[in-house]
């Protein structure tokens, strides 16, 4: 049985916020929309698993999170370069198209946070999920949500103040493991 019209309408209403969440995860607009598309396809294929008492946005975001993690795992054997690290690299082409409205410092700093901190921070500040909803989306305990958000805030502020932590990914991943 295909998804009923009412469900499709509900799902349709989540797209703007789902796109915003995806964009904050992967930054590049078309990659983000690909992620949104994957999440929507999965949601439509599993519509019967959606509990109508729940917030559909939280449900779809959690699907998008899983899809993103699957994608990262698939690519983990490849070198992972965050697109924003490339902005001013010596290999760039001349005069890259720049968005004058882009607040580079903030977004660049955000992109340098390890995804384990960036995701809960964004879910709570940007999407305004509760810690409990965030824990559900990320499949981690509430206490972990709390500590990752606070460490994300400290790290973001340090980056914005111009303190660049050494190898953000490695050291952050290692210290994260200790917390979990």
């Amino acid at each position: 049985m295909t998804a009923p019209t009412a469900f499709r309408q509900q799902l349709l209403s989540t797209i703007p916020r789902l796109r915003r969440y995806a964009r904050s995860l992967v930054f590049d607009a078309s990659t983000a929309d690909d992620l949104v598309q994957t999440a929507l396809e999965r949601a439509l294929a599993h519509w019967h698993q959606f509990d109508q008492r729940r917030d559909i946005l939280v449900w779809v975001i959690s699907i998008a999170h899983n899809a993103h993690m699957d994608d990262r795992r698939r690519r983990s054997h490849l070198v992972n370069v965050e697109p924003l690290d490339l902005q001013d690299g010596p290999d760039s082409v001349a005069a890259p198209a720049s968005d004058p409205g882009l607040r580079m410092d903030l977004v660049a700093a955000l992109s340098r946070l390890p995804v384990e901190q960036r995701e809960p921070l964004l879910l709570v500040t940007l999407e305004q999920l509760s810690y409990a909803e965030c824990a559900e989306v990320l499949h981690i305990p509430i206490g972990t949500v709390m500590s990752r958000i606070s460490r994300g805030r400290v790290a973001l502020r340090a980056l914005l103040d111009g303190h660049v932590p050494a190898t953000p990914t490695n050291s952050a991943t290692r210290s994260l493991r200790r917390v979990v």
Binding site: T2, A3, R8, L11, L12, I15, P16, R17, R19, R20, R23, S24, D33, V36, Q37, L40, E41, L44, A45, P90, D91, S92, V93, A94, A95, G101, R103, L106, V107, L110, L122, V124, T125, L126, S130, Y131, M146, S147, I149, S150, R151, R153, V154, L156, R157, L160
Partner: protein
């Protein structure tokens, strides 16, 4: 305050306080703490400012119109399992259709390569402009072989190497044209695949300027051998002159006004003779 390990958990508590995730009792405790510790109050204020900045920066994405393909997907999507049988039926047809498409593509290519005498087969002009658009803006890797050496001697040796290599691969003399009188200097070259064999690309840039103004020159085996006079084409910013002289097809591409590009083409033409 009766919290011996306050230091460890304090950032978490302050952060949760900001997110309004504390119980009333915890909240009262942090309220009191902040009252006595202005430095922590300042810290939380900065976090709140970061939160507001993040919201302001990313909020517009949610206001963008929903891409039609996503809307279409949600309204019309049928889960994969539903059309599995249909897919199997379709698979047989698809193999047939693929054959037809490949056939058509081959025919198209052959037609494209077969418009002889003017020396620029359909598509060659577009491919050459495409090559210019891809390589000319490169800051660090504009060419495969650079002739920009540390010393004049180095440059000379590189030029010789480039000329010999391209001549061998393109199978016709590739002369490194001197366009300095027109204000352009050679920075190097590369080999490009063409439908009828390798094609040489030479890259020049305005003397004393960086990537801003570059022109590329192409040499290859022409499809026909009839000499052809200068032809001009324009696509957006890019202009192109191409002609056939002897057994070589030439082209020059750049985002320059027509007269300037023509002056360069004529300089090359004179040096060929």
């Amino acid at each position: 305050m009766n919290t011996p390990d306050r230091d460890d958990s304090l950032p978490d508590q302050l952060s949760a306080w900001l997110d309004d995730e504390l119980t009333p009792a915890q909240r009262a405790e942090i309220d009191a703490w902040l009252h006595e510790h202005p430095e922590d109050t300042a810290r939380v204020r900065l976090w709140a400012a970061d939160r507001d900045a993040l919201r302001a920066r990313l909020a517009p994405v949610a206001e963008e119109p929903v891409p039609p393909r996503l809307e279409h997907l949600v309204l019309n999507h049928t889960p994969a399992r539903q059309w599995l049988t249909a897919t199997r039926l379709a698979a047989g047809f698809a193999v047939f259709a693929l054959g037809a498409v490949l056939g058509a593509a081959t025919a198209w290519r052959m037609l494209g390569d077969d418009d002889g005498p003017e020396g620029a087969s359909a598509g060659w002009d577009r491919r050459v402009m495409g090559a210019h658009a891809v390589y000319a803006p490169e800051v660090r890797h504009p060419v495969e072989v650079s002739v920009v050496g540390a010393t004049a001697e180095d440059s000379r040796a590189q030029e010789e190497h480039l000329s010999r290599w391209l001549t061998k691969r393109v199978d016709r003399p590739v002369k490194l044209f001197d366009l300095r009188a027109q204000g352009f200097e050679l920075i190097g070259g590369r080999l490009l695949p063409e439908s009828n064999g390798p094609c040489a690309q030479l890259m020049y840039q305005r003397i004393g300027q960086s990537a801003a103004t570059r022109v590329t020159v192409y040499l290859r085996k022409p499809d026909g051998t009839t000499p052809a006079a200068f032809k001009y084409e324009r696509q957006g910013d890019l202009g192109m002159f191409y002609w056939v002289e002897g057994t070589t097809g030439y082209a020059i591409v750049g985002s320059l006004p027509r007269e300037q590009l023509l002056a360069l083409a004529e300089a090359i033409y004179k040096q060929v003779g």
